[in-house]
Subunit: 340 residues, 2 copies
């Protein structure tokens, strides 16, 4: 009972602080929420909440501000995702339906997400690791210069140039292409890379170096985790809304955003299957992002999370709204990948 009210007070503090960006005092609280008790009572509750580490005062005789722990409790127990509005739904649909290819889906998603949440949006390109090979194409650009194209089930296309010491004629090329496709089509790429090694051995000895070069390039493309590291970032202009603490807050953040590796680590913690993960403040190992939260979730066709998408924002953010938006976008994107 009393405990319940205390949580209500915490919730109210979080809500007010998020919207006003200012420490919130007992008076303001009872004014703006129907708590049914007097400021003094609220003050007592606040004292307890502070005791327990959910809120602090920036300095004596100022209002209270939620701590990371406070946000955590708020997110875990005091929040029901507010359903997104019909208008937002329409926006999402119309935004994403126009996408023509995978790149476009990612680009649009990132823009959409940043507009919806008014935060910095991050969308990871679908990983190679769990996709299957749809087709491999080998094309001669000139006698001893080949273009190898690897097409994956996610719609991703990787291409590589291969220079050959001695060229291959058209028949040899066709033969190689057939062998490769027979070996790998439909396989997930880890398996495909394995099988490829056998292909070289089957090729007539005089063409083996050439085949080896092609295969090596393919294997390299398949295991190339550089492409796993690709992310799209959008909405950095929203960083300006962070307000104070410019050089200490935004600079490292901008740097982190360019360090895509860090972003991937952050996103990597996210769960899949409709669960939206929230990392609050210093909970991760990245001190430079201590006043920053990450809201992320997995996405991919058929509920297998091929990649992650989410937003980065100040700890002081509208969690319910943001989480709902992230989830909604992830669902839509997943659906689109399903169709393709």
């Amino acid at each position: 009972m009393v405990e319940d009210r205390r949580l209500a007070v915490l919730r109210a503090i979080v809500q007010d602080y998020v919207s006003t960006e200012e420490p919130v005092g007992s008076k303001a609280l009872v004014d703006r929420h129907q708590l049914g008790v007097s400021p003094a009572t609220v003050r007592n509750d606040m004292a307890v909440l502070e005791e327990e580490g959910f809120i602090t005062q920036p300095h004596t005789s100022a209002g209270r501000v939620p701590t990371d722990k406070g946000y955590r409790l708020f997110v875990d127990r005091l929040t029901t995702l507010k359903p997104i509005s019909a208008a937002e739904k329409r926006a999402i649909a119309s935004f994403l339906d126009g996408a023509v290819d995978l790149d476009d889906v990612v680009t649009r998603s990132v823009r959409l997400l940043s507009q919806l949440t008014r935060q910095v949006a991050v969308v990871q390109y679908p990983t190679l690791s769990r996709s299957t090979v749809r087709h491999v194409e080998v094309v001669a650009l000139s006698p001893n210069r080949l273009l190898v194209v690897l097409i994956l089930s996610t719609g991703r296309v990787e291409q590589r140039l291969v220079e050959l010491a001695v060229g291959l004629d058209d028949d040899a090329l066709a033969d190689l292409r057939t062998r490769i496709n027979r070996a790998v089509t439909g396989e997930i790429i880890a398996e495909a890379a394995d099988r490829l090694s056998k292909v070289t051995a089957e090729v007539p000895i005089e063409r083996r170096t050439a085949a080896g070069a092609v295969v090596a390039t393919l294997v390299e493309a398949m295991s190339d985790h550089r492409s796993d590291e690709r992310v799209a970032v959008g909405g950095t202009a929203n960083l300006t809304r962070f307000g104070e603490g410019f050089d200490t807050t935004i600079r490292p953040l901008l740097e982190a955003l360019e360090e895509h590796v860090v972003l991937l680590k952050l996103l990597g913690e996210a769960g899949s299957g409709g669960t939206v993960t929230v990392r609050i403040g210093g909970e991760g190992p990245y001190q430079e992002l201590s006043s920053t939260s990450v809201v992320a979730t997995g996405y991919g066709p058929g509920d297998q999370a091929l990649a992650t998408l989410g937003i980065v924002g100040p700890t002081r953010m509208d969690y319910p709204g943001t989480m709902a938006a992230v989830r909604a976008v992830a669902r839509y994107v997943s659906r689109i990948l399903d169709e393709a």
Copy 2:
């Protein structure tokens, strides 16, 4: 003679202001430069320069600050590009030599440029419009689903999916592929798109719808100017060095940076062939970028400017150094495209 000294004074003002970020007074000027005259003389010169609109004082009894017009004069007449250091040269070479494909070249360039200049770097992807068709590949993914791959001389690869109402068998496909390649290989894409229209007519009537679909997709891919609009942006963290005037300066800038269209317009003004173009402050039509300069130049294989690259920074920047860096990077990238 007197005129010469006045220009020397302007140059000194620009240099000092760029390095100190503070309005510069007559005393400081004679101290830090060997002008060989007294502060009083400098004051007279400054009065004239102000009269002519090259400098202003932010407020009475403060030092002088260059105006856009002042920077213009400085850039046009008072500057010799300072040659980049050997260390920088090595950095450029080692940075770009590791690039594996076009995307990678662009990504690396943008990072390199931002590190070199400590500004926000922008690199446009090579345009389609002036490139030639190296090869077209048509691959059956399933009976009535084709993948069309368009490979251009710049190394750019565009791919599109085509759904067919009625499928094509392998022979028909090979025939179509041959016809298409015969028609377009080596042509610049505008011409190629034209020739393609004839291909459909030559195809046996029963396969004409299918061929038409493929051709239409190719034409669409060739004339798709969406891909012309691609740019890579890097080094936004350097924005923090802009100092004061945060919300009024950086916010619109960040927004502009995300508006790739605007960037392209800005870059579009740039000349080619070794000339580095500088747009200073409000010279363009973009008021929100009034305290911003753009330093850009064209690049591309064989000195034809396929695209543009450059940096965006505060009007108060080190023009000689920045221009040299931009030019150096453009040359290296051009050389790499030449080799490829």
